[in-house]
Symmetry: C2
């Protein structure tokens, strides 16, 4: 089954990449943006048919490799 | 309001970064992964209270800056 996860910077952590994209959009005429924050997205196709177990495995992956929990949060968003 | 968008590589496009993460996970003992694909995630806080209009603006941003439509797809996922 496929499980997806979104990794985002914590609220208090500066996101310079997001700022640059914000400026670029501003320069292109998108004037009504307050803030942009960029994150990472992973789509993991896993050999596990039980959604709960698959989610637990992906959570483990996030903790051990995908996310830096000091500055990032992860969210497991979709299970199909 | 906040609108989020996920940018992913199209199915037929190679994802070397995902492959490397796959190998790393494999080396760490996660043996039951079939495939990992990485994408980008943007959380856009926009000065527009109408969800439909906000989505249209973000779609426009995806087409003009955030996504490379030759090799990437975008999905607008969440509107709060």
């Amino acid at each position: 089954m496929k499980v997806s996860t979104i990794i985002t910077l914590k609220k208090d952590v500066l996101d310079p990449q997001g700022k640059v994209i914000h400026q670029a959009l501003d320069g292109m005429g998108f004037k009504n943006v307050n803030e942009i924050r960029q994150g990472k997205y992973f789509e993991i196709d896993i050999n596990e048919e039980d959604p709960k177990k698959a989610k637990l495995i992906v959570e483990d992956m996030c903790k051990k490799l995908l996310a830096n929990l000091v500055i990032e949060n992860y969210k497991i968003i979709e299970t199909q």
